[in-house]
Symmetry: C2
Subunit: 254 residues, 2 copies
């Protein structure tokens, strides 16, 4: 029995749409009618900024609003749900989402995007242990990737804090040239990210995780500076299809 996929959209707005596109592109079909049922609930007004919460700038945990939207998707019929936002997978947020779903007796299968990335690395890049991570400063400071990858035997390689706050985070969040504000990767955002990748490579990174869902918009090639780029949104898309109906998952990433 094929499960329906639920997506909590709007975190950020273009990341949710990117996930929907990757679900469609990774589904093996001959006809429109064979595509999976996908429900998207995008209500960003209720979800406070995940980074601001993790950095202590707002008190409200976005977990409450995220859990409410997961529950709405479950009520509509979704059997497996994904949240295309790296920062929402910080333990202080994601564990609280799980707790709220349990308290509400909501048994929908909620995938953990970053655990899926860890599994992907184990299966697809054997021998690689040093993983560079580009992300928001919220994800960086919360140690999301350090903790989850560490538990799976990897070492996360992060940029120095000054580079993180002056170049990487602004590539995503700067009001003038950031990907969120512009809906695309400006030249300045791309230059900042290339500098980040070069620095991570010198520090020993053997692959680069694009650890914010807006970042894949900045890269059209599967590698940068000779290192494979790992797109968690793409991995989440494939994991959602696998859980919904494995027979419809394309064998090879396209």
């Amino acid at each position: 029995m094929e499960k329906w996929i639920g997506v909590v959209g709007g975190v950020g707005p273009f990341a949710g749409i990117d996930l929907l596109g990757k679900i469609a592109a990774q589904t093996a079909v001959n006809l429109d009618q064979e595509h999976l049922t996908v429900l998207n609930w995008s209500q960003p007004a209720t979800i406070v900024d995940r980074t601001e919460f993790l950095l202590g700038q707002v008190a409200e945990n976005p977990a409450g609003a995220l859990a409410a939207q997961v529950q709405q998707l479950a009520k509509m019929g979704a059997g497996v749900v994904g949240i295309p936002c790296n920062t929402a997978h910080a333990p202080r947020i994601f564990n609280q989402i799980r707790a709220e779903l349990a308290a509400a007796n909501c048994n929908v299968q909620l995938l953990h995007m970053i655990e899926e990335v860890g599994r992907f690395l184990q299966d697809n890049l054997p021998g690689v242990t040093q993983i560079g991570v580009l992300s928001t400063t919220g994800t960086y400071q919360a140690g999301v990737y350090v903790e989850v990858l560490g538990a799976l035997g990897f070492t996360a390689v992060l940029p120095p804090f000054s580079l993180q706050t002056e170049k990487i985070h602004p590539a995503i969040y700067d009001p003038v040239y950031g990907i969120k504000a512009c809906g695309l990767a400006t030249e300045q955002a791309q230059a900042n990210l290339q500098e980040g990748i070069a620095t991570l490579k010198v520090a020993g990174a053997e692959a680069i995780i694009l650890g914010c869902t807006e970042l894949p918009l900045a890269f059209s090639e599967p590698t940068a500076a000779g290192l494979p780029l790992i797109d968690p949104t793409l991995i989440l898309a494939r994991a959602l299809i696998r859980e919904a109906n494995p027979a419809k998952l394309k064998e090879v990433i396209e």
Copy 2:
């Protein structure tokens, strides 16, 4: 009071995602949290091919499944709904959707994408009366644009039937090179469409409607052969924002 936007996705799969992206891109925001609430219900397995119905190849009217999905969106809280599929706006389908919603006492505001295109032409291209239309053969034979544009005082200019069936429809539906199968516009699809536009221009067209939601994927510029290209998905996106909260509609198309 801001309305929630509902989208019937999956008709076709990439067209629904394209609409969601255009809604986000046309919304004036400073923060993620200011984006509109958008609910997407994509359940393509239940919706028979609109063209096959109009051409008499299947008996079931897709209106029933489309109306059911509009009702689901209304039940979830959507106040204004769009269906990003030109062929679904053929009177034999769209009038039936309206009848089923009325019979179910569903009072959600359902926009008519092609009537919105007509309004856009009146407001933005004054003096233009001859409108070329590229579409599926289902939309072509059903006379969707001829009827709706005619009622608004325009003359629809269509390709000769042989060009329509041998070049235009296959650019969308061919299993090898068509946009639906490939998820992008192949060189062959683009060549077919350029031939169509050149023919419509010779026949007097002063603007070209990309009258199938997959077609905008084939064009990155706002004109072709010197004629303005009209994207109904973009116009539907802006109409949905206008009805949800006009203060959030970007003044100029971006």
